[in-house]
Symmetry: C2
Subunit: 343 residues, 2 copies
Amino acid sequence: MKKRRVKLEDIARKLNISIATVSRALDESPRVKPSTREKVFRMAKAMGYMPNQIAKSLSSGKTNLIGVIIPRYDESFFIEVCRGIDHYVSKHNYKILISSSRTSFESEQENLSFFEKGLVDGIILCPSHETETFSHIRSIINKGIPTVLFDNIKEEVSGADHVLIDDNKASFSAVEYFIKKGKKKIVFIGGIKDKKVFQDRYSGYLEAMKKYNIPIDEDLILHCNSLDREEEDLEISKYFKNLKKRPDAVFTVTDNYGMMSMKILTKLNYNIPKDVEVIGFGDLGVGKVFVPSLTCVAQPSFEMGQKSAELLIDQLKDESDEKHKKRVITLETKIVFRESTGD
Amino acid sequence: MKKRRVKLEDIARKLNISIATVSRALDESPRVKPSTREKVFRMAKAMGYMPNQIAKSLSSGKTNLIGVIIPRYDESFFIEVCRGIDHYVSKHNYKILISSSRTSFESEQENLSFFEKGLVDGIILCPSHETETFSHIRSIINKGIPTVLFDNIKEEVSGADHVLIDDNKASFSAVEYFIKKGKKKIVFIGGIKDKKVFQDRYSGYLEAMKKYNIPIDEDLILHCNSLDREEEDLEISKYFKNLKKRPDAVFTVTDNYGMMSMKILTKLNYNIPKDVEVIGFGDLGVGKVFVPSLTCVAQPSFEMGQKSAELLIDQLKDESDEKHKKRVITLETKIVFRESTGD
DNA sequence: TACAATAATACAAACGTTTGTATTTTGTAA
DNA sequence: TTACAAAATACAAACGTTTGTATTATTGTA
């Protein structure tokens, strides 16, 4: 079945004209006269011509592809970011090539090398939490490949744009909300410690407690170490079962932790929100349908993608060589109030 | 900053050898002697050489890219399928290029045309529910581009492999389960009628009812027409509120509908599973954490991706031209029992 | 009717590889 | 040494476009 593709040469031969004229005709260049253009279009259509993108790219040096590297597919946050990116770049005639680093540093490097082979015009990357050194990213940038980083950035990389949210501040405001409502025994459920975003959300908690002079009670703090949902479930469930004190509020660094917590708290005969209020982090659609629905810090994930894309397209357009040094964009979060805080 | 890439020619010149030798050396061809190979490798490394994938593709006629078209990003089913595809093809040195048709026929065509420009070696596609004619897909296949279709296939396309689940049977077995438990008033919550999978799930319901001689009660049937979560929520909620009869079981064609139903039923003072049992369809992780957790027909989404990928890679390897005509693979579903059916 | 000016088209190099064939170099045996 | 096979390397075409420059065809004007 392997049919040979129709190429410019085939059209040219049939019409007894040159390849260049065919190429220009299809491009609607004013250099070919209308009647030939017509002929060419008709013949191209009749023969089922489809331009060869690869040849075009080689010739033009542009692929119109943007490489996106996310730590994992199965986290809606990243999918939303990708949607945001896609939404923006498709308006500029770009497509995205999504790769997952499977939260592994090695795989992140591999993906980057793959992109470096000239397949993409630019790269948008969320560093995996394993990533501690950034020379692989710097190397890409030094080669002149436009790059934007988003989320979980432990270290600023010069030459790349950054898009983040202020996790610390977001977390602070959630805890502050509890405190202002008179809550004292505020549980903090954190995540693995080598993720920058989780560190920041933790420090936000600590700072809020400190500001209002509430002593930190280590018993009320749990850092989940699991990567797997089942394990998380168990870890949180065990924690609450063994907890001697009765908390009056729970702040968790993800929506999932929040829902897990509500689930186990309900089983332990807490009434939500009367006995204990819960705030999660993320807002990716699930917390909304949960019963009770989960109040949470809403991350502007789609917007994050859009903004990253915008910065990248900017770099792409801007042939004028590193005119812009590096931009760091911090997006605003907000709290979405639902039943778990009595709203 | 736009640095010129190092190319084979640069290495060749430095070492005073020919481009061909450099190329073969890097390929570890036995045609170059070890000592030159060494030199080339060292020089390539020193100069920071990265092969140009585009040039390679043009020369070899292979891009090692596989195009995937899904109706939407924000449905975990499709993301899981993509994960499955990625998992399989990455073992064969392929990467995937994911596009969303945004459930629009037109956009599906556009995406297909894009891939047709020679960027991908093969295509895996889930037709949008808007898609009624399949000539665009046939056209692709006629050009000799290996193609696999999965899910929501209204019409068999000759020359393409198909991967499906037996929605009818899956649905039948869920309803049968209710019937065997003595349920009589079984609500069916369906989806938009132009989606093949929803039609099949509906017919499965009808067939089960028929087989056990339970008369169909139109009042117990709702076909959701909404595309948007908020609207669905409203539609289902309104339906149950207005329902005069008290159902003893609810079967829904998606997990979301299942959870919506449980949510509103609980509000209407039904006890789940005592008064009414619920089974959803999908099993994509959310139903598990819901309270009560949702029993559902589990779709083997990851596996579906893997299988589709396997078939495609098969076609890709198989240069021997349409030896295999067309394969239709039907994957098994199973019911995962949880709290909403008292398990 | 011829000549310039301009319109239309053709030619050919370039993009960075791969790969078949030709050529040079090396090693070995007479 | 010389001759010859084998090993190593060089040459050049090909992949399908784009695009600057050269060439040819057409028009208008004197």
